[in-house]
């Protein structure tokens, strides 16, 4: 346990950073970039402190603080990380500097851009660390506005529509969740509180549980997204600027899965257990549908977007099969997908800066002029489609294993999804980087610049590392994963699970 609260500093440092950015005159674009980069890097370094002090082998929440906020309403500022949220926090702080690098080419209105980007980081981190339902909801909504502005202002042609769609879809979901939260708040026997760990014990009739679970589920399923609530995602991913797409794919989508693991299942285990078949069906549909649709995409960013739907299907599948392998695999996969898809978006963003088109057909033979770019792309693509030895394989394998233990036959369509993934990714790779050069512009594509190398190298290292030696990651994930699995499998474990003392760091 550390003396001083790394966690809260990490969460609010970016927000403080916006003030720094605010002081820089808007004309000094270079200074703005450097400032944003500095803030995010410092945030990342501090977040390493969390990793250091994280105590493996316990499922309880750690490193948090707990302060009364609005005692009249039983609202407190309670934070803490466990195996589930730890890697999400790390992922966010790790990817943020890289997305700043990816936004180097943002010349127009750079000042508000970086301000919104930093605000977004605080919002996302807050969601992952807050252990008070009210606090959680505040961060959940707060992360919405900057993303909305990022898409809507710096996006591509269809940006306003995409931003609107993104905001309204999410908002409707989260408002239903808000009603559920309030309902839970009022049905808590003791003195009214929003404290997550106290609310865990709330006795609820199965009918009520079902309603409230659906309330939460509505909000999370939109974020994940599960088919049929996914329609906002392709637009948002496609229209968003590179950094926006990275953050969307790598972190924002995880909010949904995280919410399911952290809130939906532990708070309403009976309802969750009852609805497992439904959710798993949706997940499988997502896997197959996403992959199938990805194959026929003409727009590279749309393709990556649909591949995300498929991957998130895997994650939800693993979370809901109710076996430790599936759960930890799903959680690890959240990390993996963040890395590989983030990298894919960065790579294609780099490509887009060179050719200013998203149509796959406009490319072809790029590998000749930009071999390094092509090589890196292939590497990332392989990790994303789960090649043994790379990170994607570990997660997906664990998910499939977990599924196999409990629902033998569900493995078949899931595995089919992996095959499809191989098809669309490799085919897209072939069409973009190899084959005949249809357009002369592809001959003169400059290869990766040093900045871009710097931005991609860390990701590649991690991809390989997790692929060959996932143990340190899984060690930290498993205890918490086990806890959630117990809750999902039999609610008798619920009371013991409810007693954690995260409020005493």
């Amino acid at each position: 346990m550390s003396e001083w609260p790394f966690l809260d500093i990490v969460v609010f440092l970016p927000l403080a950073g916006t003030l720094l950015i605010g002081l820089i005159p808007r004309a000094r674009v270079g200074a703005l970039r450097i400032g944003a980069l500095a803030v995010t890097v410092v945030t990342f370094l501090l977040s390493l402190g969390i990793l250091m002090n994280f105590d493996t082998g316990t499922a309880d929440f750690q490193l948090g603080t707990s302060v009364e906020w609005i005692p009249e309403w039983g609202i407190s500022y309670i934070t803490g990380v466990d195996g589930v949220s730890l890697w999400m926090v790390m992922l966010t702080t790790f990817l943020m500097p890289l997305s700043v690098l990816a936004s180097w080419s943002v010349e127009r209105r750079a000042k508000p851009y970086f301000i919104f980007l930093l605000t977004l980081e605080t919002g996302l981190l807050g969601v992952f660390v807050s252990l008070d339902l009210f606090l959680f909801y505040v961060f959940w909504e707060a992360s919405l506005v900057p993303m909305y502005l990022l898409i809507g202002i710096w996006g591509y042609r269809n940006r306003v529509y995409a931003a609107m769609k993104f905001f309204l879809f999410t908002l409707v979901g989260s408002l239903l969740m808000l009603v559920a939260i309030l309902f839970l708040y009022f049905s808590f026997p003791g003195s009214p509180t929003f404290n997550y760990q106290e609310l865990l014990g709330t006795p609820l009739s199965l009918g009520t549980q079902r309603l409230l679970f659906l309330g939460f589920f509505a909000s999370f399923a939109v974020k994940v997204p599960l088919v049929p609530l996914h329609t906002w995602l392709p637009d948002a991913h496609t229209e968003a600027p590179t950094a926006g797409s990275v953050m969307l794919a790598a972190v924002l989508l995880k909010l949904g899965a995280y919410g399911l693991i952290r809130f939906a299942i532990p708070l309403f285990p009976d309802a969750a257990r009852e609805l497992v078949p439904l959710v798993m069906t949706l997940a499988i549909i997502g896997i197959v549908y996403g992959a199938a649709v990805a194959i026929v995409q003409r727009d590279m960013k749309r393709l990556i977007a649909y591949s995300s739907i498929a991957h998130l299907g895997f994650i939800v599948l693993g979370v809901f099969v109710g076996s430790i392998q599936g759960m930890s695999g799903g959680i690890l996969q959240m990390l993996n997908h963040g890395l590989s898809t983030g990298a894919l978006f960065m790579l294609f963003g780099a490509l887009y800066e060179r050719r200013h088109t998203r149509r796959i057909a406009d490319y072809g033979g790029v590998a000749r002029s930009a071999p390094v770019l092509a090589g890196v792309f292939l590497f990332v693509a392989l990790s994303s489609l789960g090649l043994p030895g790379l990170n994607g394989f570990v997660g997906e394998f664990l998910v499939l294993l977990g599924t196999f233990f409990r629902y033998r036959w569900w493995v078949v369509p899931a595995a089919f999804g992996i095959i499809l993934a191989a098809i669309y990714l490799l085919w897209a790779y072939k069409r973009v980087f190899h084959g005949p050069i249809t357009n002369d512009a592809n001959l003169r594509i400059p290869d990766l610049r040093p900045r871009e190398m710097v931005m991609l190298a860390p990701i590649l290292v991690l991809i390989a590392f997790i692929g060959v030696y996932p143990k340190p990651f899984l060690d930290r994930i498993e205890p918490s994963a086990q806890k959630v699995v117990d809750q999902l499998r039999d609610s008798s474990a619920l009371p013991e699970a409810a007693v954690g003392d995260a409020d005493a760091p």
Partner: protein
């Protein structure tokens, strides 16, 4: 019959007296001194008067009794509303000063009328007898009618004032008929009753349920009259036109002031006096509430004029407050108070920004005039964004907390479906607030305007204060909610 001289204790209406006296003084001074170039002393005097009224209102805090032979209630509820109203009045006066200077139309009448209006609204909050409610209603309505038509050069302004006036008096007539029926049904118009005579409910219980029909009818008519003031559907037709036509500061004042005044009367009437009959009025009010939320949110989507848009949004907000009123429990009443206070501040801030941007003759108020505003005036646009997000109910703004508490009250009473309706309509509403953001952030300014609008020192101050309040109350609202709850604790008879 021998008349008994009532013991005169004026703590109840001291704030109102202070305001009226100041207003009279102000008008006479202005008339005597005549046209001066810089009449700084008018807003100064008005501010002093409002300050005095705040002082007197805080003096009355904590006592709970009836005064002036049961005509006026002195309680925390009244004090809370009065202080809030005085604050609204201050903001309006400061805003109005800049506005009038810009329009080169500074007249003492403006300040006088604002003061009179505030006084009437305050009286509304303390009224313990339908007679007083009626007088208060008329006092502030008449002042508002004139204020709406205060843009002398704009025909639109005067026509909207005409419409507002005619519809207003029309609804007043129904309200009056309602009072007459109450009087006929139970022979008393007093909300509480006491040593000075029986109250509505007590004498109703005495006479028995024989003429419940007449009382219910009267109740309906009263709700019509007050519903008009708070812009509840279907008594809302005046709202868009009046909001559009009125000078922007006045619009903000109307939105903030007449809403809290009308709801103060409604809360006292329905949640205290007629609480025993709640099962009778609830269906009617629920109908009104749902209509108001839906119509307000849906019609706002198609608006192109910012003031009209905010008008429909204020209709929708009336619906949200109704959910707290329907709950009729402590949380509901205090929640409604909190909602009205925070909403007032936010909407005043929004209209302050509108007033600054509207430019000479208060004309530039269409969405087109807001294109790319963020890159032209980042601070103003940022403030407006904050206010709009608060109106939309996004967290870390006061609007979110307000929605949370009123919907919470409804859920607590088992009206969770009403809360769901509220949530869905707020989602619809979010769409048109976002529309404004789209215009401000995601569209390019088409024409460079001739002279760059400059926000006067007072307007800047008002906007800053409102923005600060919106954020602070969104992050740490405990104290204010606490005060509101204590206020309902001292609710005479409540």
């Amino acid at each position: 019959m021998p008349l008994d001289i009532p013991a005169v204790r004026l703590t109840g209406i001291a704030p109102e007296i202070a305001l009226c006296a100041t207003a009279l003084l102000l008008l006479v001074i202005d008339a005597v001194l005549g046209e001066r170039r810089n009449r700084w002393y008018l807003p100064a005097l008005a501010s002093i008067g409002l300050g005095l009224s705040i002082y007197f209102a805080t003096e009355a805090w904590g006592t709970t009794r009836l005064e002036l032979s049961g005509m006026v209630a002195v309680d925390g509820f009244a004090s809370f509303v009065k202080i809030t109203l005085a604050v609204f009045g201050l903001l309006t006066v400061w805003l109005g000063r800049d506005f009038l200077v810009r329009e080169r139309a500074e007249e003492g009448e403006f300040y006088g009328l604002v003061l009179f209006a505030v006084a009437g609204m305050m009286l509304m909050a303390g009224a313990a007898d339908l007679i007083v409610v009626f007088l208060a209603l008329e006092t502030f309505s008449l002042a508002l009618y004139v204020l709406v038509g205060f843009r002398r050069r704009s025909l639109l302004s005067q026509e909207s004032s005409m419409k507002y006036f005619l519809l207003g008096s029309f609804s007043t007539a129904f309200f009056l008929l309602g009072i007459a029926f109450v009087y006929g049904a139970v022979g008393s118009t007093n909300l509480y009753g006491g040593e000075d005579g029986p109250g509505i409910v007590s004498s109703f219980m005495a006479t028995g349920a024989s003429d419940v029909g007449l009382l219910i009818l009267a109740m309906g008519l009263l709700i019509v009259g007050l519903g008009f003031k708070v812009a509840a559907v279907p008594f809302h037709m005046w709202t868009p036109d009046a909001y559009q036509g009125a000078p922007s500061p006045v619009t903000g004042f109307m939105a903030a002031g007449s809403k809290i005044a009308g709801f103060a009367a409604l809360l006292r009437l329905l949640d205290v006096t007629l609480y025993p009959l709640r099962e009778d009025w609830r269906p009617l009010v629920i109908g009104v509430a749902v209509l108001t939320m839906v119509v307000g949110s849906v019609l706002a989507v198609v608006q192109e004029d910012v003031k009209r848009l905010l008008a429909y949004s204020s209709i929708a907000h009336a619906g949200f407050v109704f959910t707290g009123l329907i709950a009729a429990n402590d949380r509901g009443v205090s929640g409604s108070l909190f909602y009205l206070a925070t909403y007032g501040i936010t909407v005043l801030g929004a209209f302050a920004v509108v007033a600054v941007l509207s430019g000479r003759d208060d004309e530039k108020v269409t969405l087109r005039d807001y294109r790319g505003l963020f890159y032209d005036r980042p601070l103003l646009a940022g403030a407006l964004t904050l206010f709009l997000l608060s109106l939309a109910g996004v967290p870390v703004t006061s609007g979110f907390v307000a929605k949370l508490v009123v919907f919470g009250a409804a859920i607590q009473e088992g009206y969770w479906w009403l809360a769901v309706v509220g949530m869905v309509t707020s989602a619809i509403a979010a769409f048109f607030y976002l529309k404004v953001l789209v215009v401000m952030y995601m569209q390019e300014k088409e024409t460079e305007d001739a002279e760059r609008v400059r926000s006067g020192p007072l307007s800047t101050g008002v906007i800053g204060l409102a923005a600060l309040a919106t954020i602070v109350l969104g992050l740490y609202w405990g104290p204010l909610i606490d005060v509101a709850e204590r206020a309902t604790l001292f609710f005479a008879g409540g």
